[in-house]
Symmetry: C2
Subunit: 669 residues, 2 copies
Amino acid sequence: MRSSLLLLTLVSVSAHAEEGMWLFNDFPAEQAKKDLGFSPDPQWLDRVRLGSLRLANGCSASIVSPDGLVMTNHHCIRACLEDLSTSERDLLATGYLAPAREKEERCPKFEGNQLVKITDVTELVLTATKGASGADFQKKLKAETSRLESECSQGDAARRCDVVTLFHGAKFHLYEYRRFQDLRVVFAPEFQMAAFGGDPDNFNFPRYGFDVAFLRLYVDGRPAKTPEHLKWAKKSAKEGDVVFTSGHPGGTERGLTLAQYEFLRDVSLPWNLVSLAEQRGRLDEWMKQSPERERVVKSKLRAVENSLKALKGRREALVAPGFLEGKRAAELALQAKAPEATKGAWDAIAKALLVQRTLYVDYVMREGAQAFQSELFMHARRLARARVEAAKPNGERLREYTDAQLPALKQSLLDAAPVHVELEQARLTWSLTKLREVYGADDVFVKKVLAGKSPEDRAAELIAGTRVGDPAFRKERFESTAKIEEADPMIAFAKLIDDDCRAVRKRWEDEVDSVVKKNMELISDAKRAVGVSGPPDATFTLRLSYGRIKGVGTGPAMTTIKGLFERASGKAPYAVTEKWLAQKSKLNGATPYDVATTNDIIGGNSGSPLVDRNGDVVGLVFDGNLQSLGGNFGYEPLGNRTVAVHGDLIITALQKVYGATEVANELRR
Amino acid sequence: MRSSLLLLTLVSVSAHAEEGMWLFNDFPAEQAKKDLGFSPDPQWLDRVRLGSLRLANGCSASIVSPDGLVMTNHHCIRACLEDLSTSERDLLATGYLAPAREKEERCPKFEGNQLVKITDVTELVLTATKGASGADFQKKLKAETSRLESECSQGDAARRCDVVTLFHGAKFHLYEYRRFQDLRVVFAPEFQMAAFGGDPDNFNFPRYGFDVAFLRLYVDGRPAKTPEHLKWAKKSAKEGDVVFTSGHPGGTERGLTLAQYEFLRDVSLPWNLVSLAEQRGRLDEWMKQSPERERVVKSKLRAVENSLKALKGRREALVAPGFLEGKRAAELALQAKAPEATKGAWDAIAKALLVQRTLYVDYVMREGAQAFQSELFMHARRLARARVEAAKPNGERLREYTDAQLPALKQSLLDAAPVHVELEQARLTWSLTKLREVYGADDVFVKKVLAGKSPEDRAAELIAGTRVGDPAFRKERFESTAKIEEADPMIAFAKLIDDDCRAVRKRWEDEVDSVVKKNMELISDAKRAVGVSGPPDATFTLRLSYGRIKGVGTGPAMTTIKGLFERASGKAPYAVTEKWLAQKSKLNGATPYDVATTNDIIGGNSGSPLVDRNGDVVGLVFDGNLQSLGGNFGYEPLGNRTVAVHGDLIITALQKVYGATEVANELRR
C-alpha cells in the first residue's frame, strides 16, 4: 500500500515536470537540468531550431540532410499527393518514390519556414498602442505590426517576418524565417500504411502508423543547401530515454479566463463538433458513390474525422467534473492577490465574450466562409480583396494582404492545384444550404446570397461560370490594374457579399479581440506580480518540449513490426499493402514500430522530429493518444502521450519495403 | 416612452400567465378565469379529455366524429404511409384518400389511447417503497407499479393502464386508457405540402405547412363508436381569440436541479447533437443515390432534422447568458428555506449524476441500441427478451415486458411492416462503426459484437441470415415455448450481448434513477413547504394549455393561401404540388393558412387539436417557432409560439383541392 502510493507520487512529480511547450528563447535550463540530469546549451538550441521547419499548411517538419531533405508526416503532405494525382494516377493509393532527384515533383501551395531569428518587440507594440482601446487600439496595433513586419522582410520574398502575439497579447515577438516556396516530394508510403488503423485507432496507442514522408527544399530550381540540418542518431531510442520534440504546436488554451473556457464549452466547441459531424457523414456517404469521388475526398474525410475526434476529447476534458471548478478557484485566488490596476480585466473579457456570443455564428459563416465552402470561392475572395486592399496604406490592410504576407498570398493564388468540380458543387451546395438553415429563408443576407435560387442551382451557376479555377486567369486578374466591370460570376459574388463579411470581422476585431488582448496584458501583469510563470499558450510557432519514452501505466512504450502483422485483419482500415506482405518474411519482427513518449505536444506538432539528448533524430512525431486530447487545457501527466514513428522503422521500411535506399543513405550520411 | 413601457409590462404579465401544461385533474380554474375571463368547467374538461387521443408513437390527436374519425398531423403518420408504400406506390409523394370507408387501410404498429380515468396512487407507491433505496427501491417501485397496472388492466388488451411518474418521482398517478390497436388511414396530403418549407422553415413562423392527416379508429374490424368526440367549431378562429391545446407534451425539464441541467449541457445534449448531425449528413447523401432510397428514408431524414433543430435550440436556451445563473439562484434560495429533512437531496442527485456521466455512453449505445440501429435487431431483442422475461414474476420483469405492457409489445412484434434491407444494412453498418469508434477496436465488448469482422460484413451476415423480418416467423417464435437452440443469427446476436445491455440498465436504474426519484420527492416536499407550485414537467400524458392567437411582436398571427403561392418558388422545399396549382384560381387567397398562438406546448403535442372556449375544434397544432425550442426549460412569453393549421384551411383544402368532401362533411356533421 505504502510503496504504491510512493510510486504514484514520484510518477506524478516527475511527469508533471514535462508539461511545457517552451520558447527557444526562454528555455528553462535549470528546470530541465533538474528533471533530465542535463540541459541543452545555447548551441544545442540553435542547432535544433535551425534544423526544424514549419510547414505553412499547419504542420511541423525537420531538415535532415545538407541537401534540403525534409522529414514530415504523410498526413502533412496528403494535400500535395492529391494535387499531384489524377484519376489515372492515385498517389495516395500507390505511395510515391521519386525515381531520381531531378524527377522530384513540386507540391503546389507548400511553404516551409525555417526560424532564423527572434526579437522581442513587446515594448514597441505596447508603446504604439498605449492608451488606445476598441477600434483605435486595433488600428494602431495593426499599423505597428505591419510596420515591423515590412521593415524586417524588406520586400524579400525569401524572408518571412511575423509579429507573434504571446500570452494572448501580453508579449509580442518578431519571428524572422527563411522562407521556402518550392518543396518537392521525395517519398511517401501508401495512405493505407500511413493511416493504418484509420479512425478507430486514431489517437490511440498501441499503434501502427507509418505516417512518414520526405520532401526536399528547392531554391532557384535546385536543392537547397542546408548545412544546419539535424543528424540521424547513431543509437536507437529505447524505453526510458530522454527525448525532445521541436515543432509548432498549433494552439493551446491553458491560460484562458473562466469566461473564455465557458465560451468554448457553450459556443465554439459545440458549433464545430456538430458541423464536423455532419460533414463527416456527408463526405463518407458521398465518396462511396464512385472510386473517383473516393480518391478526391478520402484525405479530406480523414482530416475531418481527426478534428472531430480531437475536439470531442477536448470538450470532454473541459466538462470533466472538477476541471472548470479548478480553473475558477485559481482565477479567484489570482484576482484576490492581483494589483488594483488589473482587477477589472476579467470582467472586461467576460463582457467582450458576451458580444462574441452574438457574433460567433456570423463570423464563422461569413468571414470564416463556412457558408461558402469552395476553393473557387476562396480564390475569388482573394482576387476581389487583393484589389481593394492594395489601394490602402500597408498598415490599414486586412492582415493577410499586407506587404509582408504578399508571398504567401501569391502562392495560394498562383500555384497550380487541380479543382474538383464535382466536390466543389457538393460542398458549396451543402454550405449554402447550411447558411439557409442557420438564418432561415427570409433572412436578408440569405436572400442576397441565394439570389432567389436553390442552394444547388446557385452553386452550379457560380461554379459553371467562373474561370478562377485556372491559375493563368488568376494571375492575369491578380496582376491587372485595369478598372473593369467584373464579369466572372464567382468574383462578382465574392464582391457582392464582401461588405457583410468584413463588417462582422471588424466588429470582432474592435469589440472582442482588442478588448481581450488589452486585458490579457493586465492579467499577465497580475500573474507576474504574484509569481505565476510558465510558457505562453501555443501559437503555431516553434517550441521545444522534453520527455521520455514511456507507455501509459503498465502498457507498452513501443510496438513492433511483428505486432503490425498480428493486427492486420486484411480489412480496411486494418489491411497492410502488398509491398509489406511481400517483404514480411525478410523483416525483423522485433524492429520497433511506433513509440509513446511523455512529451507535451498538440495539433501542429505533426511532423516534429523526435530528437535525443544530442539533438539527433530518433523518430518522427505524428499523433497523441486519447488522453492527450485534453492537452489543449493542461498536461495530464499520467496518461498524456505523444505518438511517434521509431527511427529504426523509418530506415528499415525505406530500405527493405520501399527500395528507397538512397533516401535512407542520405539520412545517415 | 412611458406608454411603450406600460405595454411591455402588460404583455409580459398576461403572456407569462400562459405558461403551463396543466393536468386535467389539477386545472387552475381560478387562474384561468383571471387570465381568460372564464374558465372551463369540469364537464368541459371531461369532454375535451375524452375527445383527445394519444398516438403511442409519440404524437397527439383528436377524435372528431362519432364514427371514430381522428385528426392528427401528417408527420405523425408518415411511418404508416411509408409502411403502406411500395416502390410502385409512394403515398408520401401522392398523398392518400381512401376511396370509400371500407377501403381505409390499416396502419401497422399504430396504437391510440383515450384517457378515461385518472387515479392518484402516490400514497400506495410511497408506502410500498418506504425506507428502501438503490436496487431495493427500484425493485419495490417496479413491483408496485406492475401490480397497480395489472390490477387496472385485468388482462384486457382494450384497456391500457400506466402508472405515471409526476414531478420526477414526487407523485404517481394511474392513467387508464381505452386502447385502440386498429387505426386506418383516411386522408393524407402530399409530403411536399405537409412539410412545405422543409427544414429551413421548420420551427419558423410565418409558415405554410398543411401538416394534416385523418385516421379512423376501428374496433373488431368496424369503425369505432365514439360519441364523445370533439365538434368542429361553427365560428372561425380570429387573431386575439382564446384557444386551448389538449395534447401530450412529450417531456419538459423545467423542474430539474442545477446538477441535472449541467448534465444536459455537458453530456446528453452534446452527445445527441453530434450523433444526429452525423446521421443527418449520412441519410441525406445516402438517399440521393436512388429514388427508392429517397422513398424509404425521406421521412426518417425529416425526423432527424427536426430533432437536430429542436435540440440545437434547446441547448442554446440552456447556455444563454443568465439562464443557469437564474436556476442556481432559485435553487440556493429554495435550499436556504428548505426543511432540514430535505437538505441533502440536491447533493444526492449531483452524486448520482456523477455516476450517470460514467454510464451515459454505455447506456445509449447498448441498452439504448444506438450501436445497433436496425429494426431487425429490435425485433430480435424483443423476441429474445420476451422469452426470458415471461419466466419471471410480473413485478420483476423489465417494464416493457410486464403483463400490462403485453398488448403494446405484441403489436410492435406482430404487426406487419416492411423492412428495407438496404437501409437496414446501411444503418447497422454505421452504428457498428460508431461502436468501434467510441470504444476502440481493442475493447472487449466491441470484439464480442464484431466477432472479428468489419462492421459492414458483420451487419451483412446478421441481416442476410435472419428471418425476424417475417411477421409469421416472429409470431411463431413469440408463441413457441419449446426450448430450442437459437439458430437465427440476429436473435442469437441479441442474446449474445443481452447481459452487457442489461447490466448497464440495472446500474442506471439502481444507482441513478432510484436516487433521483427518491430525492426529487424530497425536493418536491421542500417546494411545497415554501409554497412553490405549478404543473409537473411533461411526461407524454394529457395536458391542457391555454393561450391566444397572436404573432410575435408586430409579426402576423396568421398566414393565408395567397401567401403560400407567393412563397412557392417551384423548387424544393418551396414547391407546391400540381393539385394545388390546378385549383389556385378557385381558392380564396384570403383563407387563413397557419396560425401562431401563445399556448405552451412541446414535442409530443404534434397533432393536438386547437379548441376554442366552447371546446370545439378551430385548428390543428403541428409545430412551435424557434423561440419555443427553449420551452423545454421554461416558457418565454414574448416569443414562444405554437404553430397550427387553421381550421378553415382544413375544410377548404379537403373540399376544393383534394376532393375529400365526405371527410369535410363528417367533420362538420
